[in-house]
Symmetry: C2
Subunit: 561 residues, 2 copies
Amino acid sequence: MALISSKNWMAHYQKEDFRGDFFAGVIVAIMLVPQGMAYAMLAGLPPVIGLYASTIPLIVYAFFGSSRHLAVGPVAMISLLVYAGCSRLSTPGSGEYLSLVIMICLIVGALQVLLGIFRMGFLINYISHAAIRGFTSAAALVIFSSQLAHIFGVKIPGGSHSIFHTVWELIRNLGETNLLTLLIGGLGIFILLLLAKKFPHFPAPLLVVVIGTLGVFVFKLDKAGVGIVGNVPSGLPSLGFPKTDISTLKTLMPVSLTILFVGFMESIAVAEMIASREKYKLNSNRELLGLGLANLCCGFFSGYPVTGGFSRTAVNHRAGAKTPLASIITGILVILTLLFLTSLFYYLPRAILSAIIIVAVLGLFNLKEGVRLFRIKKTDGVTFFITFAITLAFGVEKGIITGVLFSLMLFIWRSAHPHTAELGYLEKEGIFRNIKRYPQAKTFPGVLILRVDASMYFANMAFIEDCIRDKIEEYSKLKHIVFDMEGVNDMDAEAVSILEELMEQYKSRGIRFIFASVKGPVRDVIKKAGWKEKYGDIERLSLKHALESQGENSPPPKMST
Amino acid sequence: MALISSKNWMAHYQKEDFRGDFFAGVIVAIMLVPQGMAYAMLAGLPPVIGLYASTIPLIVYAFFGSSRHLAVGPVAMISLLVYAGCSRLSTPGSGEYLSLVIMICLIVGALQVLLGIFRMGFLINYISHAAIRGFTSAAALVIFSSQLAHIFGVKIPGGSHSIFHTVWELIRNLGETNLLTLLIGGLGIFILLLLAKKFPHFPAPLLVVVIGTLGVFVFKLDKAGVGIVGNVPSGLPSLGFPKTDISTLKTLMPVSLTILFVGFMESIAVAEMIASREKYKLNSNRELLGLGLANLCCGFFSGYPVTGGFSRTAVNHRAGAKTPLASIITGILVILTLLFLTSLFYYLPRAILSAIIIVAVLGLFNLKEGVRLFRIKKTDGVTFFITFAITLAFGVEKGIITGVLFSLMLFIWRSAHPHTAELGYLEKEGIFRNIKRYPQAKTFPGVLILRVDASMYFANMAFIEDCIRDKIEEYSKLKHIVFDMEGVNDMDAEAVSILEELMEQYKSRGIRFIFASVKGPVRDVIKKAGWKEKYGDIERLSLKHALESQGENSPPPKMST
C-alpha cells in the first residue's frame, strides 16, 4: 500500500460531494476559530497561536492522512499537556515558552513521521483504554479547575498541575473576584449548555463570542477589569525554526512522547469510529504520517501540537463532509480570518474562551465509565481509578504514564499468577471440566488432570511449579499427572528447564508426566528441547487419548464412553 | 509459618551433625578470607572491609535465613555492582566512597527486610533467567578485564565500566607492565587452574596466598614495584552509622535495587539447588529477611553488601555442612583472623587477589548457554545476547536493567501478536486441529472455526480484530464463526467492547458468533457484560457441541462421527 494515497480522493472527486464538503468546512471553521484561541490560552499561549495551528496543518493532513473525516487542529487534552510540560521550564507567555512549545511540536511531528514510516503504529495498542479513560476524566477536571480562575477573574500563581493546589489557590484568592468577569463567564457557560441541549447543531461558541465581544465593546467593560484577548496580530505566521540544543531536546522528550501518544490515541479513536460507520479502512501508519507532517508544518509556522479532535470531527461528519476537502476549506477560512478579521477579537473577553473550554471538557468527565469497567472486570476498573487519582494528585504527565505502565504491569502480574484447575470428566457431554465448577465430573484413580491457563514462561514458572508440587502432595498414590495444554499458548526455555527438573525428580517416585492437546508453538519448543529422546512418548493428541493410553507401566483407567 | 524459625535447627541440633558442620565451617573460612579481601578490592574497597563483611552477617543469616547450607558473604557480582555504582559518585578508596558503600549496604538490607516482611519475595520471579545468564557472562568478562590491570601491574584511570575502554586503556599502558607482578599473577592463575582441575577439593586460594606472600617477603619484591595489600588493621570494626541525606539516598536507589535483586537471585538460585537436593523447602520471604538482616548488620559494622555465594555454598555443602552452625563457625574463624592474623597479610601481593578473582569468575562466562537458549526458544536466546551485549557496551547496571525490561516487553509484545489458527476436524482422532498443520482436517461449509492462542486484552485486541475481519472477508458465504476459547485464559473489558462491536456489525450481514469451550474466568466476564441478554445463547460447552447445535437459523452441518 502506498504511503501517500491522497490522490485517491482528489483523482476521484465527485461534484456532488462539494456541497457537503463546503458546508461542513464552514461549520467546522466557525467552531474552530473560537476553540483554537481558547485552547491556545489553555496551553499558556497567545490566542493567535491557536489560529496558526488551525491553518496549514489541516491542509497538510488532508493530503497525507487516511481518514476522510478527521478534523485536525488544537484540542483541549494536548493543550493541557503542553501547559503541564512547558510551564515547569519557562514562564507562559514568554518568548522562551513559545519556542519550547514549537520545539515540542517539531519533536512530536518528527517522531510521528518516523513511527509512520517504520510502521510502528501498532505501538498505540499497548496503551490501555481503561487508563486513557481514567486519564481523560481526570484531565477534564484539571482543565475545568484551571479555567475557573479566568471565570472568576482571579490571578493564580502559575505552574501548579495538581488540581488541589489550583482549587486551594482559587479559594484563597476568591476575595479578588471580578464580578463582571464572573457574570460574563457564567452567562457564557449557561448559554453554551442551553444551546447544546436545545439546539445541538447550532454553532453556539460563535454566538457567545459575538455576544461577549459586543457586550465588552458597548459597555467598555475592559475598563472595569474584565480580561480581554487584546491585540491579535493579523496576517500569516512566518516560517521559522527555533534555536535549540541537545539538552533541551532531552528535557522535552518525555512530554513530547506523552503528547504524541495521547494525541494519536484521541485522533485514531474518533477516526476509527467514523471510518467504521462509513465503511472505509484506516491505516494507523498513514495516520501517524499525516499527523506527523501536520505537526512538523505546524511547528515551522509557529503553531503548537495538533491532533484529530473528537467533537469537531463528529461535527464535520454530521455536517455532511464527504472528503478531506472539507478540512482544506476550514483551513482556508481560518487563513482568511487571520488575514482580515483579527481586529474583531480585540474586545473578546477571556472568560468567554474559558466558558467554551469548560463546556467542551464537561462531556469528557465520565466516572460512570469507571464503574462500568469495574463491574465487568475489576482490574480494568482499578486501572481506571488509579490513573484518575494519580492524574488528579500528581499531574497529567505522571498520571498517563502511571496508567499505561500500571495496566501493562497488571497484565504481567496476572500472567504470573495463572488460573489453574484440576479437571474431571463429564460423561454425558464428553468433555473435561474444572472439578470445582463441576463437582459431578468424574476423576480417575492415580491420575491427576491439571489445566494451566497461561503461557508458561519465566515469570510464572515458580507459581506453576509450586502448584504442581502442592497438587502432587495432595494425592498419595499418584501414577500419572496429565497436563491439559490447551491454555498453554507458548513456552520458554525457563519453563522447559523447570518441567524437566520436575519430571526427573518425580520419576524416582514413579510419577509420570503426560502432556495432552499441546499446541503447535509449544510442540515446536518441546521438540527442540528433545523431550521425545529424553522422556519417550509423553505427548497425547487430547485428554481422551491421554487417558486411554497413558498406562505403559500401569493398566489404563478405562473411560466409560 | 513463623518468620523466625531458626530455633528449629538449634532446638533439634544433633551431636552427630557437629563434625560435618565444623569441618565445612573451617574449609569455607579458609576459602573466604582470601576471597573476601579480593572481592573487596574488586569493589574498590580496602581488603579489610571484605573481612568485616565475612563476620557478623554470616552469624545473623544463620539465625534468620531458611537455607541450611547457604554460605553468605562478599561475592564477585555484587562487588562489581558496588564498584560500578559508587565509582561514578566518588573516588574509590576515599572515606566518602566507603560511606556511600555502607549506605548502599544499609539500603539493600532495609529493603530486603521490608520485602521479606511484606512477603514480596515473588518479585524475583519477574527477572528472566535468560537475562540473568546473559548478564552473568558479560559481568564475568567485565570483572576479568578489570583485574588484568592488577595482573600487569599497570594503573588504569578509573571510573570506566565499559569493557572496551578498560581493555583499550590497558593496551595503551602496556609499556608500563611490571614483569614481576605479571609473573606472580600469572603463576597464581596457573596454580589455581591446575589445582581446580586436579584437586578440586584442595583450598587452592589459601595456597597461592601463602606462596605469594612468602615470595614477596623473602625476595623483598615490594621494593621492586609489586603491589601489596599493606597494612590490614587488626581488630573488629566499630559500630557506626554514616551521615546521609535524602538526595544521596535517592542517588543510591537504582544501584541498591540492582544489588538487591541480583544478589537475591544468585542467593536463592544456589540455595534452592541445595535445598531440592537435600529435600527441604526454602521460603523466599524468610530468605529476604535473613539476607536483609545480614546486610543491615553488615552496614552497621563497616561491611559492604553480602549475599549467598555460589561456589562457597557448594563447597560448604560438599564439605559436609548439615546446619547453619557451619556458617557460624566460619564467621567466628574470620573474627579470630581479624583479631590475630591480619599482620600476616601485609606482604600479600594484590596480583594474587586478582588471580583468585579471575579464576573464580572464569566459570561464570558461558556463551554456550546463550546458544542453547537460542536453539530451544529464539526469544530467550535474543534476551541472553542483548543483555550480554548491553552489559559489555554500557556497563553492568544498564545491562541488567535492560535485560529485565526487555524480557518483560518481549512477553508483552508476543502476547500482543498472538498465534491464531483456523481449525478443522480430524475424524479418526475426534479432535479439532489447525488446518495448516493438519491439511486433512475436515472443514464445514459456512462455518469458520477460529482459535486464538492468547488471553484477550487491550494490547492484542487490535491484532485479533484485524485477524477476525480478514478471515471473514476470505469467506463469501459465512454463516457462523465459532471461536475455540480453550486458549483464551482471560479477557478484559476492552476485549468485551471490541467483540460486541464486531458481533453487532456482522449481525447485519447474517454472521453469527459462537463461543465454545469458554473457561471459567472468561465466562464470568461474559456473564457480567450481559451477553446472554444481548445476544442470546452464544456459548457452547465444546467445539463439537457448537457444530452440532449452531444452526438456529440454518441447518446444522452434521458431523460424520
